[in-house]
């Protein structure tokens, strides 16, 4: 192999400018929106500080080993997911194809979530914030009915942003403002991934570091808010009884798995641009620990703000009751304050019980407000936006918050796109002389056109489906086959020699045990538990229906059969690639050699490929 004179790259493969860029890209890929809006929620509902026990156990026995495996694999074979698995064995090529498919599906809907973030961001420059006031109705005598019955924040999210339809079967129309934002988001993704890691490597310095700055600012601000301490105590008070519930362990395992963005193929792609003599073991441990620490760090400002919101709601509840009592009894203003409210209530209840009963006062309980837990888009776009309105200088906080969410999501998008881009580049879909900019442009354009479906009225229901089915079960299947494939087909002995050659020291016994037995077993258990839990009840969703009797509660509906079929397809298709491709190669082999041959083709080792 002669090196071309002008290029420093020996095999024409691009590489990272420095190690820090690579680590930062992996961290950025792993740290995403889920660290902010899923981990704190899980901590809250699963017994606070006690949740950290199953979480760290899962991290140790599932997260770090799988991460190390993927990074070592990519670094060793120096190819994207499809190429790497084809190199190990053509029969395992399906694993790569499955990874690639999942990356495609996730890229489609993930960027639409970023579209919503961008929409909120560009709406944060107004005074007052558009989600803080209800619009008036036609004859200007009162507020818009839908808004009045729920809240202004809910109205802005469900009506002004999503323009949501009451049922998934009703597609509604395209929301032009979302289409504009979607175009802008895909343009940003194109701008950053235009030349692969050459450009993302520069962009990642901003998108991976900026969220930490903002989280710190929110931390400082959040801790000064009233009610922050209640929120934090509520979050972290351990309740060890919850550990008896197997659901908690399942949630911990799945959270670690999805939080580290395993089995997407993006990590393999990132590692493939490394020099082979690189300590992948240390990298894996670093990335996993930073990811978990970020989750913990992010939950502090989130819960300070949630505590603040609960406290304010509690005070509002008290104030409303006080006003009602004062008006009813014609007492002087400020005679009843929040502090002596309970005294007054008991006094009045004993003297005038009928009057008090007639007022229909709501019972105000701080615990009840703290218990209202939300995760996902509800946390960011409803709960947090409501809390931001209550802070002084809300525009600035809103802008900061949404830029932070956008950077978090964007750095994860880089990993997703890389998982799509690198295998396609290696498969040489476009002629080699064509510039990389063309391939990334084609990917972004096609993704934008397909993602237009998510800007329909029913778009957010579809995104929920993609999130629940395309980005959960297939990943578990693919990861399981990844571990089995490396350990039993590529053979652990050869792999440990490769890792030893790359890191320069012998493979620790810990990795041997986890790769061989613990991780596959854990994955199998998690997968089965996950599937069983999903099968227990028919898949349903909650719809926003203004005509529902229980409005503003969301209406629980069951998916129609054709939607259920799509769910099954999304969940099964990437996983089915594994046996399908193996079968395809088996048939091809039989056809070619005309004799039954179950001998696996010669598997190449990474040292051999790079000597």
């Amino acid at each position: 192999l002669s090196a071309t004179p002008e290029a420093p790259k020996e095999d024409g493969r691009p590489k990272w400018d420095n190690k820090f860029q690579y680590i930062l890209s992996c961290i950025g890929f792993a740290v995403g929106l889920g660290n902010v809006w899923r981990f704190p929620y899980l901590c809250q509902i699963h017994g606070g500080g006690a949740f950290l026990i199953p979480y760290f156990i899962a991290l140790l026995f599932e997260g770090i080993p799988l991460l190390h495996l993927e990074l070592a694999l990519g670094q060793c074979l120096r190819k994207g997911s499809i190429g790497a698995w084809n190199t190990i064995s053509p029969y395992l090529g399906g694993v790569g194809v499955g990874s690639w498919m999942v990356s495609v599906l996730v890229s489609l809907y993930y960027n639409t979530v970023l579209t919503w973030v961008m929409w909120y961001f560009i709406n944060s420059f107004q005074e007052p914030l558009p989600w803080s006031v209800c619009p008036l109705n036609e004859n200007r005598t009162g507020f818009n009915e839908e808004c009045y019955e729920s809240t202004a924040v809910n109205y802005f999210w469900y009506r002004k942003t999503l323009n949501i339809t009451p049922d998934i079967a009703e597609s509604g129309t395209f929301q032009w403002w979302l289409i504009l934002c979607l175009a802008a988001c895909w343009a940003i993704v194109y701008l950053c991934t235009i030349r692969g890691i050459e450009t993302t490597g520069k962009a990642i310095y901003v998108t991976a570091i900026f969220p930490y700055l903002v989280l710190t600012i929110f931390l400082i601000q959040g801790l000064t808010l009233p009610g922050a301490t209640e929120g934090l105590i509520y979050l972290f008070t351990p309740n060890l009884n919850t550990l008896k519930n197997p659901r908690v362990w399942l949630d911990a395992a799945t959270q670690i798995f999805f939080s580290l963005s395993l089995a997407f193929g993006g990590l393999i792609a990132f590692a493939s641009y490394n020099p082979t003599k690189n300590d992948c073991e240390k990298d894996a441990v670093t990335v996993a620990l930073v990811n978990s620490m970020t989750s913990l760090y992010a939950s502090i400002p989130v819960f300070s703000v949630l505590g603040f919101k609960a406290k304010t709601a509690y005070w509002d509840c008290l104030d409303r009751n006080i006003i009602n009592i004062i008006n009813e009894f014609d007492l002087p203003e400020e005679s009843i304050m929040r502090q002596n409210y309970t005294f007054w209530i008991s006094f009045l209840n004993s003297s005038y019980p009928e009057k008090i009963a007639g007022l229909k006062l709501k019972s105000c309980d701080l615990q009840q407000f703290l218990d209202q837990s939300v995760s996902g888009t509800g946390l960011a776009f409803i709960v947090f936006t409501q809390a931001i309105i209550l802070m002084p200088g809300s525009q600035a906080w809103a802008i900061l918050f949404f830029i932070m969410l956008f950077s978090l999501g964007l750095s994860s998008m880089f990993g997703n796109i890389e998982g799509v881009f690198t295998p396609l580049l290696e498969l040489q879909i476009i002629p080699k002389s064509a510039p990389k900019e063309l391939l990334s442009g084609i990917i972004c354009l096609i993704s934008f056109l397909i993602a237009l479906c998510f800007t329909l009225g029913s778009g957010s229901y579809w995104i929920d489906i993609f999130d629940r089915y395309a980005a959960s079960v297939p990943l578990l299947i693919i990861a399981f086959f990844e571990v089995i494939g490396v350990v039993y087909i590529y053979k652990i002995k050869r792999f440990s020699e490769d890792v030893e050659w790359m890191t320069g020291r012998k493979l620790n016994l810990f990795w041997q045990i986890t790769w061989r037995f613990i991780s596959p077993l854990l994955l199998l258990i998690v997968f089965m538990a996950f599937v069983i839990l999903q099968m227990q009840k028919p898949p349903s969703y909650t719809a926003w229906n203004p005509k529902y009797e229980g409005f503003p509660m969301k209406e629980e509906k069951v998916y129609p059969p054709w939607v259920q079929a799509i769910c099954v397809l999304l969940a099964a298709l990437p996983g089915m690639c594994v046996p399908l491709v193996a079968l395809f190669h088996l048939v091809k082999q039989r056809h070619r050699s005309k004799e039954p041959s179950f001998v696996l083709p010669e598997v190449s080792s990474c040292q051999g490929a790079n000597s």
Partner: protein
């Protein structure tokens, strides 16, 4: 307490905080004067006097009932609809006289028309969006152009070196000078693509 009476509820401390004034007989006198003023403006007959406005049941809240009597018609009360319309028309003046607002000076049976929110001609978000999009497009164009330039430079370099076989083969093979190739916007250079097959694969 007839149906032509209206209950008024005033929340001075909520509105003014530390600058709150006390509600006393003088304030009541002002209130009567404002209602009489409103009636006069509405019906444009100058017969309503301050003595026509009667207040009763003043509590510590501060809340009270009032009626407007008609001295020309044998001490009957003015119909509620007239009073309501008069108050509605002059609500702003009445509020300002007491440094209060619609919420802190409540006429319990009279609803107020809410002021429409300020709507700028172009929505603000569209402006911000325009700015963001311009920046993105500028970035993309810059990167594409710099990519093309880098590609052109890479194509020109081999032609300047004398000791490379490829250069000789380029000119020999096609007979097309490299400058003409560059005119194809430097995207596809079929010459180099063909060359890649010469080298053994890695």
């Amino acid at each position: 307490d007839a149906q032509n009476a209206f209950k008024v509820r005033i929340s001075i401390k909520t509105a003014l905080g530390d600058n709150a004034y006390a509600w006393d007989a003088n304030e009541e006198y002002l209130f009567k004067a404002m209602v009489a003023f409103a009636m006069r403006r509405y019906s444009s007959k100058s017969t309503t006097q301050i003595s026509n406005v009667l207040l009763c049941n003043v509590t510590d809240r501060v809340s009270f009932w009032f009626v407007v009597t008609d001295s020309s018609k044998n001490v009957t009360t003015v119909p509620g609809s007239e009073v309501e319309a008069a108050i509605r028309m002059n609500r702003n003046r009445i509020n300002n006289a007491f440094l209060l607002s619609d919420k802190t000076l409540q006429f319990l049976k009279i609803t107020s028309t809410l002021s429409p929110p300020v709507d700028p001609p172009t929505p603000v978000w569209l402006i911000v969006f325009g700015v963001v999009l311009c920046l993105i497009v500028a970035g993309i164009v810059f990167l594409i152009v710099s990519g093309i330039q880098k590609h052109k430079k890479k194509n020109k370099e081999p032609t300047e070196r004398e000791n490379l076989e490829e250069k000789v083969e380029v000119t020999l093979e096609n007979g097309i000078p490299c400058e003409a190739l560059d005119l194809k916007a430097g995207h596809i250079n079929g010459v180099f693509a063909a060359d890649d097959d010469r080298f053994t694969s890695l």
